[in-house]
Structures are given as C-alpha cells and as structure tokens.
Symmetry: C2
Subunit: 458 residues, 2 copies
C-alpha cells in the first residue's frame, strides 16, 4: 500500500457514483487527516442509477429521491473535494500524477499518494445508421434518465421500441407502459434475459405479453430512419420497418477502461481492469472498483465482469480502505440479481446452464413450481425455482426463480450456498423457515434441491 | 438396517401426522413390495397443525384445507394400512412386536421388520387448580382446533386469556382478536417469545399493543375458577383475578416418549428420544422422527430438541428411507422459525444471546434497522436485523429479524450461513440481490453483518 498515506497525503478518486463515493467515504472515515479529491465527469454524484426506470415510469416522483447525498453534502460533511463536470484525461501511476480537465477546458495536473479508479461503464452503442438521431436514447446516467423522462413528459410519444431484452430493457418496457406508451421489445438472441435459462425467460416473456408488450426475438436491428419532420420515425430490424416515436438502446454496457489502459494498467481477460482481492491494479499505487473492473466469481474462481451496483459499493469500500493503508478483501461475486417485471419478481445467482457449459462444466438442472404459501393459507401464488448443478458431485452452480412474491430475497439463500461451495444435497438439508403465510412446509428451494440431489446422483 | 426388509417385510409407523406419514410415504416410494402399517391415535392423519390458528381465526375457511391427504388417500394411492383411533401401547424392539389398542378396546400384537416412532409432542399442562375445567383449552391436534373454533363460533366468548407468549400464543391472540374477542396474554417470563433476544421481543410486543392486545409479563398463573354457571370465569395470575370466558394454555410442549422409554429405548439429554443422523434409536430395529426425538443442532453440534413441522417432515423422510434399508442422513437443525404477528413478520434462526451463554459461549450482538426497499422506491418499511456472534473469531451464532415485509425468507440466508459455519465477516461478503423495489443496495443483513464483523474484531 502507498507508504506516503501513512502520514497524510492526497487520495484521488476518479468517478463519483457508486464505487467512487463509497471509496472516498470509506477513506475519510478511516483517515480524517488526509486530503481527498473526487472527480466526476457528470453533474451529479452518488445517485441511484437502478431507480431510473422507476423515475421515468412515475413510481419515484422526485428527482431528489434519486440522490442519496449531493456533492455539497460530501464537501461539507465529509471534507471530500468533489469536482463535478471534470474528467481525468491522463494518469501516470509511476510519477503519481493525474491530469484533470474540467468542462470549461481548464487542465490541471494533480499529484496523488493513492488513487482509486471508479470510472464505471457506459452503454454499448452499436454503430448503426441513425443511432445519433434525436429520439434514440441510452440509459445510464441521471442526465440520461432526465432526458428520457423529458421526452415522455413532453407528450407525443405513443410508441417506443426497446432494443435489448435484458433487465434494463424490461424495466424500461414496464416504465414506458406505465406512461401509456405502446412498447415493442426487440431482442437479438432467441430469448429475453440471456443470463437466465430459456425456461425461466419464457415465464417472464408471458408476463410481458400479458401486459400488452410486443416482443420480437431473434431480430437484428439494422438502423434508424427519420420521419418527415426529421426526428426518429422508424426502427429497421430483421427486414421490418417498425414505426416508433422513441427508441431505447439497451444492449449491454462496456467498462470505461481508457484512462487505465493508456496509463499502462493491465486489463483482465474480460476486458475490464484487472484487480486483486484488495482491488489493487497492476500498478501498486492505483486501485480500481465497480463497473470498470473485474471481480472474482465464487463459482468459477476466475475473474468475471458482472457490473452491478451492489458490487460497486462493496468494492468501493474495500478500495477506499486499502488506498489509505488498510488490508480489506473483497469477497467475490455470485452475479446475484433481481428484477421486477410487472407483477413478477425475477431473480438469479451463479451460472446459467449455458454459462456453466462455457466454463467447461457439465451442468444438470431441475425446475420445479410450488406455492409461495402453505396450501391451506389463502393468497399464495406459484414460485418457479430452477437450480443448476454439476453432474456427478452435485455441486451447486446457480439458481433462478420467478414468482409474484417471496422470490427477491429467497435467491439470497442460493447465493449464500454458492459462496459456501455447497452441493445441492447440502442445500436440501438447510433448516429453512416455515409458517403458513410465508411458505409451504417444504420450501420451494428445498424441493428443487432435493430433486437436484437425486438427479445429480444418477 | 433391518436385514429382513431386503426381501419384503412389514414396516410399522407409529404416529400419522408430519413425521409418521412422511416416513410411510418415503418407504412406499422406495419399496412397492413391503407392507406398511401406520397407526394414529387421533381421527386424522397428515393435517397442517401450523395452520390451526388461521382456521380458528377465520383466514382458512375450510377444515378440508387443513388436510393435505386423508387416510383413504394413503390407503388407496399409497397402499398404506392407516389405522386411525389406534394407539401403540407396548413395544418390544428385540422381539420386534408392537401392541396396538384401538379405541374400541381391541388389542393386537403386530410383528414388524422395521418400526418408526413418530409420536410427536403434546402441550404441557401444568397441574393448576381448575385446568380441566370447561373453557380451558390447549391447541395441538386438529380435534383441539375444532373444539376451540367451536367455542368461538358458539358465540358468548367476549374475553380470552392466552397463557404463554410463545409463537402459538401470539398467533392465537391474533386469531381471537380477528374474531372480535378481547385478548389478554400472560407470560411468566420477563419477555414474550423467549427464544428471541428481549430487544426483538419488545418490537413484537408493541405490535400486539397497537392492535389492542393486553400483555402482562412476569406473571405466574395460579389457577382457574368457574363463574356462577360452573364454566370458566376467571384466571388467577400474580394475585390478580382476571375475568375471562376462555383460556388457552400454550406454555410449551413435551415429547411423547412414553412408548419408547418403556421399551428401553434411550432418551437423550433433552428428554426426547436419542437418535443418530440416520434417525436410528438405541435399538437398531427402531427409528424415530419428528417432535418426539432430538436433532443435531448445526451451531452447537450437540443434540437439541426444537419441535417444528419442517424438521418432522425431513426427519420422517430420512427415517422412512432408512427403515427400508437406505442410508439417508438428516442434516441437522438451526431452529429456524417464522411467525406472523398482525402486520409483522418475526423470524429467527440459531442461538439467541441467552441460549449462546447457556452453551458456554461468549456472544456479542448487533442490531440495526434499515429499510426493506431502496430509499427512492415508495412503500418501504423498517426491517430490524439482530445478529448474534462469537466474540473474538466472529463465528455467526444466530439471527433474528422483524419487519412488515421481506423478513420471512430473508432469515433463510442467515440459516444457510449457520449451516455453512460462516463468520459474520463471511456473511457480510455474500453477493445478495438488489433492486429498488426489494432491498436497499446494502441489504439489511449485510449492514448488520458488517457491523458485527467490526465489533467482533474489537
């Protein structure tokens, strides 16, 4: 760790959203004596990017609800020198200097004793004809969310096309529908939510159709075309010309690694910044955290890139601690995620069947449907649980669930079992809670794990 | 295992509720060739005893909803010779005979090749003056539930006293209140729900008071007294004379071990039947399962007696398999439980602070309150998480939670961590799910585990 930080010094954090502000805050908590500069390219820090679909859809009413703490809070309460609308354009890890450029064009070389890169990720923008046309959006930053909301608020959006059936695409389909917009989802792959097994995606797709969303799968988007007024009028996909007032491109994200790469910092096999368990990069004075870097996957025990807000916050905290002389370790990821799709809770953790095959494993799977409550107790609804396991030994590799209640946090049981390296047989032994309003006496996870254990032995 | 069962033979199961019918069904599934006799003292098999408070309270409307499968189903579909209203009065493990006595007085000696004791437990009935008076109830069997419901349905019950503030007492307080009855709960100990830490019980007590339940703690019940008509009129407790129309005695249960004990089968330190991980008793031809026997506690690694329906079903399945030559193992208990108390979900697993001290451990604890949803997303409510851990190493010992949503199944994450022998630091590393409608970015369990890890190090 940077020895200079033992007696004061300056920590620079690049990026002011989840990872960056977690790192800066953690460092401040441990070290009241050092100088901390946090540099953010955009106009806001520490906002809840995951809440943007609910802001656009009208569930979250106030812009201020999206912001946990603003820049002034960090300046005033945590003595963090937050610099908004400022970009880090060059980094020299050996000389320990970073060059900052503010929106007004002024450049400044800043010396540092420790530095945390938390530059995040940006939406992928395939080079399609017309993608820069007015009316074609991506969603990542608070500014993106505000312009998308502005477009809907302005009226005149009757039809929207969502390109990409991942979780942001589906959350936005729901948000548009809540605003009275007719929504078409276009997915290149044969199934929505491609990190899930197709059998689970199929349940989610039914829910979308039930709510009037139009879904086209296996369709490649070819470009955008203006209407008579010069604004977006059509999306071309698979030879079809789909009339639309608005298009959202949500076909994944890419890690912002340019600063690190130009500074000679090593990237990992996923293309994101390579870090060790302490979040240190290939340059000892530079740490990285969040969507710009990799993380160890607890199932594969190899670096993976699964950009999620929870990971960014945790890694940021570890990086902030270690940048000022600590020895914290990040515990790895299972890729746990949950999404609300209309009335469904959709949750997954670990590897899908396809992901497991790509890792060279021999996965088996079981899928069961059971009630969310005791059969005697009214109001229960079906929960589908799918477990993926290694044939032979029966090691648990992943789990996926869909249902109207009791799914979002039930997945954490499977995630915990993944962290512990459990077999499906061990999972089937867990003493899980039971009371008629909340579960059947055999919890759906236990039923699935029991069947998986049986199947793994064959 | 009984060698005779390798080539046909007779399995006798004593007790037809959770453990017994699970054992019989499992044995039948594995062995279509053997004879299976299931003996039940009462008039019903395989009913959901945990749903009885909801039946009495009117949430579960139909008696038939309480019964998963009736005796005829087992006879017809599973070829299990179910004998209702029949008691096993004597057992000779060496000669492999059991003496059955039916309600009409006929006795029969039945030879067996394998036998599973699933005699369950019965409510404790302290020898108080007047406890056998009309109007004083206990609740355990379906018949108990029906007579209690009959008393309420008959009208005339304006006031009820619930003796014992455990989970059945509190579920019944809610059930009575739902039927328009004024309820007083009397608890001998200084706190309700004595398997929880007092700080958590206090939250539950507030919810009871908020719903008009009268709660008296630290009050010893001295007896019952009739009114002018000769029916129950008063409960005496702590020198007070409390007028009431009905009293429910729910001061715990006792294992039904008399048959086993008289047969020379060893009891364990808890007073329940001692079994190994295969559910085999001290007599190799006799297995036991459910509320009549002990189980290995995954935290203490010692035998414990925590009678719960989930355990009974799991142990029954293991016993049924092993009684016919299998080698299944029961994975132990964490004592995981959940109860609905009006609008609260109350869940616990592992050891309380007091239980940990009784085990000779040095427990520390943390308690945090966080929101059930992201602060941006509307409708969230506070979740309180309390974790108990071992000072020094920080081994997780137990967890308790209370809140209006997201508690019942969140406890399973802690239970899974207990099964895995995790430290609070390891728990704080779990990749838990996050989306604004379902959790804050730092899940309440992670917040508590992080604080516990910090505290454990000091």
């Amino acid at each position: 760790m940077p020895s200079a930080m033992r007696h004061g010094g300056r920590l620079v954090v690049i990026g002011g959203v989840a990872a960056g502000m977690s790192a800066a805050s953690r460092a401040r908590r441990l070290r009241p004596d050092i100088e901390i500069v946090a540099v953010e390219k955009g106009r806001d820090v520490s906002y809840g990017a995951c809440s943007l679909p609910y802001f656009i859809g009208g569930v979250v009413r106030d812009r201020s609800d999206l912001i946990a703490y603003d820049a002034d809070f960090f300046r005033r309460e945590r003595q963090i020198d937050v610099r908004l609308s400022t970009e880090a354009v060059a980094l020299d890890p050996r000389k320990r200097t970073v060059t900052l450029k503010s929106v007004d064009g002024a450049a400044e070389a800043l010396a540092f004793d420790g530095l945390v890169i938390g530059t995040g990720a940006r939406p992928a923008r395939p080079p399609l004809p017309g993608i820069d046309m007015e009316g074609v959006f991506t969603l990542r930053t608070l500014a993106d969310g505000e312009s998308l909301k502005g477009a809907i608020d302005g009226g005149g959006v009757k039809n929207a096309v969502v390109i990409g059936g991942g979780y942001i695409g589906l959350e936005m389909a729901e948000a548009f529908a809540a605003r009275g917009v007719t929504v078409t989802v276009l997915e290149l792959l044969p199934n929505l939510l491609s990190t899930y097994d197709p059998e689970v995606s199929a349940i989610v797709e039914k829910e979308l159709l039930r709510h009037g969303i139009i879904v086209h799968k296996g369709l490649r988007v070819e470009g955008f075309e203006p209407d008579a007024s010069g604004r977006l009028g059509y999306v071309f996909a698979g030879g079809q010309r789909i009339p639309t007032d608005l298009a959202l491109v949500s076909v994944g994200v890419r890690p912002n690694v340019e600063l690190a790469k130009a500074a000679g910092i090593a990237l990992g096999p996923t293309g994101a910044i390579k870090v060790d368990a302490r979040q240190v990069t290939s340059e000892p004075s530079v740490l990285a955290a969040g969507d710009c870097c990799e993380a160890m996957h607890v199932v594969t025990r190899r670096p993976a890139w699964v950009p999620l807000g929870t990971t960014a916050n945790k890694q940021g905290r570890v990086a902030g601690e270690n940048a000022v002389g600590g020895a914290a370790q990040f515990g790895g990821i299972a890729g746990t995620n949950v999404t609300k799709v209309f009335e469904l809770e959709v949750a997954g953790t670990g590897l899908s069947t396809e992901a497991a095959r790509k890792e060279g494993l021999d996965p088996g799977s079981v899928q069961i449907t059971a009630s969310s409550r005791s059969h005697a107790y009214p109001g229960g609804s079906p929960i589908t649980v799918r477990l993926i396991f290694e044939r032979g030994g029966g090691r648990l590799l992943g789990g996926q669930m869909v249902g109207r209640e009791g799914v979002a946090k039930r997945i954490d049981t499977v995630a915990t079992a993944l962290h512990a390296g459990m077999s499906v047989s061990q999972l089937s032994d867990i003493d899980m809670s039971y009371a008629p309003p909340f579960a059947p006496v055999w919890d759906p996870v236990l039923v699935a794990a029991g069947q998986a254990a049986h199947k793994a032995r064959r």
